[in-house]
Amino acid sequence: MASITRYETRTLECWPKAKELRMSFYKEVARARELGKILVSGGSAVIQALPAGLGDYIFLGGEPYAASVSTDMAFQQSCSEAVEARGFAQDMCGYVRMYLGSMYRNQFFFGGEFPRPHFCLQMTVCDSQGKWFQQVSEHLGIPYFSIDYPGSRNGDDWYDRGIKYLVDQFNEAIEWMEKVTGRTYNDELLIQAVRNECMSTSLWADVCCLNKNVPAPLEHKSMFPLWVIGVMMRPRKDAVDFYSILRDEVRERVKKGIAALPVEQCRIMDDNIPPWFMLEMYRYLERYGAVAVGSHHTFFLAGSFETGPDGSLVRARTPDERGLPLRTREDALRAYAIWHMEKHFFSDQFSSEVLPKPEMFVRTVREWKCDCAIIHQNRGCEGNSQGGAEDRLALLHAGIPVLTYEGNMVDKRELNMVQIKERFDSFMENMGVRKIKD
């Protein structure tokens, strides 16, 4: 019988810090008005740094909040019921349903009443994003501003046109924010927030790239609480500081051969948003020594990448590293627009190019040295599920085994864990991967 390599494992030292950051963030959200902060709410994928010039503020991103809500089955159900009672369909965006449900019930998941934002700020990325905060604005009677994402990759000038379009809208948004808050915008604060956001997303990308190593120093389930810091608070200094510490610690783990799992028989590239209320599925895979090393969503939502000199994906160089000026408001807005235009999360999924994501998926499988892929056909998110069927076909065409399962990132009614486990078992058996523990 072939011997199995066993690796040393160790809990991340900075793990408690991630939890502390997240909890204190939500406490701050709950007390924002009391603390004299501007509370902004919107989609967390974009433009969190823009309100920074208003002074002390905090950005309640809809998605991570909704993900938290869904982890409590009773709360999740009550939110679904509240939304459906108002006439919204069950198959709508899951994150929207959790957030709106919490709002309609006037119950904040982290305690107390639902915090009332001063205004909503949104970018029209996926179908739901533009509409989501329309509902919030109307229900709470608060102002709402939407920015259009330039998905065009047409013509020789698409890049400059897209940047100009974003910068123009950013300027409109700033003027609007000053009007609705009565505050004078401070460009220095904007510059710092943009700098922080670029640094934290670059650092997260670096962390993700370290998972190309064998054994993987991190596994996907444990990555989520680390990743969510970038999703929730990337324009803040504490996010930059945390990711610096995390990156250094993960580098050390790689140097010392410290693994996420003691046995690594199979490396998996995951896809889509996981069912947040059922993350134990990753522990089930571990019974096979199967480690999920990341996903397009985890890498590219909170991380910014570029292609390195050897053609592989590496962290994106920050504006400072690229020599882009960051002295004025225009500099900062331009750098911010460039950062968004070049972010794979948008260009792979929401641009005019014909399905770039399948190619990127195959690329990440190869670069992260994966043996296979698992795709969650997530009924709760059309944005991340679009093109999923073509992702699967592209992987198969590339000779990469792939398992798909149907579910919902926030709705327990649409996930059958018994069936999914059976699928995992069959898949592993077909891959020739034997269980190492029951």
């Binding site: 369909a89 179908d127 739901s128 065009s152 047409n154 409109e172 014909v354 399905l355 093109g387 073509e390």
Partner: protein, 377 residues
């Protein structure tokens, strides 16, 4: 009336029509998806733009390319492409709307590539800079098309094309205005036939039929008494059988606010100034599909104005299953209509019509409306 037979014939034999047009004119045919494609540019290049409509047939070819959580219409459209029904197309153009249709377009390009394809980024009308952005986008599209054809789209041809489309929209508007009458001279079914044929036909040919139709019906003032006046509201709806079913229950659809109906022509170009900027402004400011109904929901005012102008007694909100954006809009839309004491019936459509179920629901809805009307009297 023979004109409606002609419209229905074009709809039923859309592929034959397109092939015949190619043979007659020597021109090319481009498929297009959704309402925001600036067709005038295509037409100016001597190309016939044809809207890809539903087949309303079950299929099993699209499911391995688009998950079933996406709308039936986008899967129906893709299936037709994969089945080769549109193999005569020389190109395809789409302007950004929803992810569902975007998927259908993308997958079509992979498996049934056409000689020319283009995806325009269509802004949501949230910024003062939208017009400028879309003007640049249309210019880029025009340049790309010219490069593909190896010849420019001449200003005179663009002017002519815009005039043809301008006339088409004006005529449709005139005909729709007649539906405000107590006894509308055409039914909702006939209006749908007229509209859908127009999405497939050469606009010049369509214009000739519209002129003839208008002359025939402008003085008409006859029809059944006491028909309930309905509005059809939603996204894409090319299901003429459904409209017929509704009207057979003693109702008349007097107006619509749908992507295959009045949204196509309600706003018009001005034919003044820079033609590309004129086009961009007209398309950006169209009564919006719900995905573009962002911000203060400008589309709602338009819908309510239509309901008032056409003295609508009830609304049928007919959407594709799994359509997030129209689902988002429904509660607010329902509340607005409730304020006006206009009941609304919410229906979700699949590729084929569940005739029995839909008929029951429509019948019950109309009964309720009749009782309400009786009580008001």
């Amino acid at each position: 009336m023979k004109i409606f037979d002609r419209f229905q014939e074009v709809i039923d034999k859309r592929h034959e029509y397109a092939r015949d047009w190619k043979a007659r004119t020597g021109g090319k045919v481009f498929g297009n998806m959704c309402i925001y494609v600036p067709q005038e540019i295509i037409y100016a290049a001597g190309i016939l733009p044809v809207r890809i409509l539903g087949s309303h047939e079950t299929q099993d070819v699209a499911e391995s390319h688009i998950h079933q959580m996406f709308c039936p219409f986008c899967r129906d459209v893709l299936a037709q492409g994969l089945q080769g029904r549109y193999d005569y197309l020389d190109g395809m153009v789409m302007a950004q709307t929803c992810l569902h249709m975007h998927q259908a377009f993308n997958v079509w390009q992979i498996y049934k590539p056409v000689l020319y394809s283009y995806f325009l980024s269509m802004p949501s009308p949230v910024s003062h800079k939208c017009d400028e952005f879309f003007t640049a986008e249309i210019k880029s599209f025009k340049e790309s098309l010219e490069k593909h054809l190896g010849s420019p789209v001449e200003p005179a041809d663009l002017k002519r094309s815009m005039e043809v489309y301008h006339t088409n929209r004006s005529l449709l508007r005139k005909i729709y205005d007649l539906r405000k009458k107590e006894k509308p001279p055409i039914s909702g079914t006939e209006a749908a036939q007229m509209m859908l044929a127009g999405l497939i036909m050469d606009k010049e040919e369509h214009n000739k039929l519209l002129v003839e139709l208008y002359e025939n019906i402008k003085g008409k003032n006859e029809g059944p008494e006491e028909e309930i006046r309905l509005m059809l509201l939603g996204s894409e709806n090319d299901d003429i059988e459904f409209i017929k079913l509704v009207e057979e229950q003693g109702a008349k659809i007097v107006i619509d606010d749908i992507c295959t109906g009045s949204r196509n022509f309600w706003n018009n170009t001005t034919l003044k100034g820079d033609p590309i900027a004129d086009l961009a402004a007209a398309y950006v400011n169209m009564p919006p599909c719900s995905i573009k109904n962002i911000g203060a929901r400008p589309g709602f005012k338009h819908t309510m104005d239509l309901a008032k102008e056409y003295r609508v007694q009830g609304v049928i909100y007919a959407i594709q299953k799994f359509c997030d954006t129209y689902q988002f809009d429904f509660p607010a839309m329902e509340a607005l209509f409730k304020e006006q004491n206009i009941p609304i019936l919410h229906l979700e459509f699949d590729v084929t019509l569940a005739v029995g179920q839909v008929k029951n629901r429509v019948e019950a809805f109309l009964e309720m409306l009749r009782v309400s009307a009786f009580e008001l009297v």
